[in-house]
Point group: D2
Chain length 109, copies 4
Amino acid sequence: MSEIPEIIQELIKFRDARDWEQFHNPKDLAVALNIEAGELLEVFLWKSPEQADPDKVREELADVLAYAFLIAEKYQLDIKEIMLEKIKKNNEKYPIDKAKGTAKKYTDL
Amino acid sequence: MSEIPEIIQELIKFRDARDWEQFHNPKDLAVALNIEAGELLEVFLWKSPEQADPDKVREELADVLAYAFLIAEKYQLDIKEIMLEKIKKNNEKYPIDKAKGTAKKYTDL
Amino acid sequence: MSEIPEIIQELIKFRDARDWEQFHNPKDLAVALNIEAGELLEVFLWKSPEQADPDKVREELADVLAYAFLIAEKYQLDIKEIMLEKIKKNNEKYPIDKAKGTAKKYTDL
Amino acid sequence: MSEIPEIIQELIKFRDARDWEQFHNPKDLAVALNIEAGELLEVFLWKSPEQADPDKVREELADVLAYAFLIAEKYQLDIKEIMLEKIKKNNEKYPIDKAKGTAKKYTDL
């Protein structure tokens, strides 16, 4: 089994051992993801990027990823496929000659 | 190459072709992740979980994952490793006999 | 003094007694606001709207409002003015005859 | 009528003219608040605090405040009262002699 399905299998095993699927509707999973994204952001609050504690980033990023993977599983989305597909779309949205060296949003290019 | 490093390699290729590493400090990556998590959440706003458009979930989830993977890369974190490690920790934080069937936070178990 | 300036004055007094203005640049205030918005959202996680604890809503909402008011102060924005102005704009963006009874975004009306 | 009730009255008038109370359960209002907080944060993305566009801050902050005020109304919370109460609590949580000049969280003081 490749990596991503293996991780998802472990997440599901953890969830099902606790009978938590009943709570994991996709809306609450998206809510949980936002809460965890906020906790990850808190590692950087009032700090320069360099001052953030890497061990805390590690902890909080794992939580963010867990909910992201569970949402993918809920919709039977293939994570590699949707990410490569998005990179392809962004290649068109942000053509290199226009986007190079600027942080502007595609709507402002 | 296994899946996750392959995806990260594509993200980096996209980033470097646009000379965007200069903007991608970890704090702004965490900011970007929160913005994308908000956009994913918007797919569910004023709706029951079933009413959300799966195609929009697909799009927004890919953006969330992209920034999560870029943060992992920035700190040289192995995504599979940190996720399995977190599941192990949560196994202790949420013992099956106490956590089964309840959505309570570990602090309230 | 009317209510809003009075609240802001108390927030500033609290901040300045701790010499915290040095940390309160507008970007970190917006980061802090997002973290607090996430904590407010957590009160509703895995729950129906009715199951949320009103005392926790009270606590977390106060934190959200504090950072929102501090951002207003930072840019010398008059909270009443910007809110009434926005309602006026939304009156045009969401004409009653098109928006009545539907939760659609203005871009989909 | 004082300022805050006056603003809330305008928000309710806008809402009721569109028959939107049916969508405004407190959980979705908290979801909406998070989405708007993310849009406010986007004004600062990839930028130093000084580079953010004040006109965009004004727009997005008004949206954040609107949902915060609507949540207060939903729970019949007096905004001034809960904010002053929170400042009082924070005065105890962050004693001046320990908190002065440091951005540490109260749990680390």
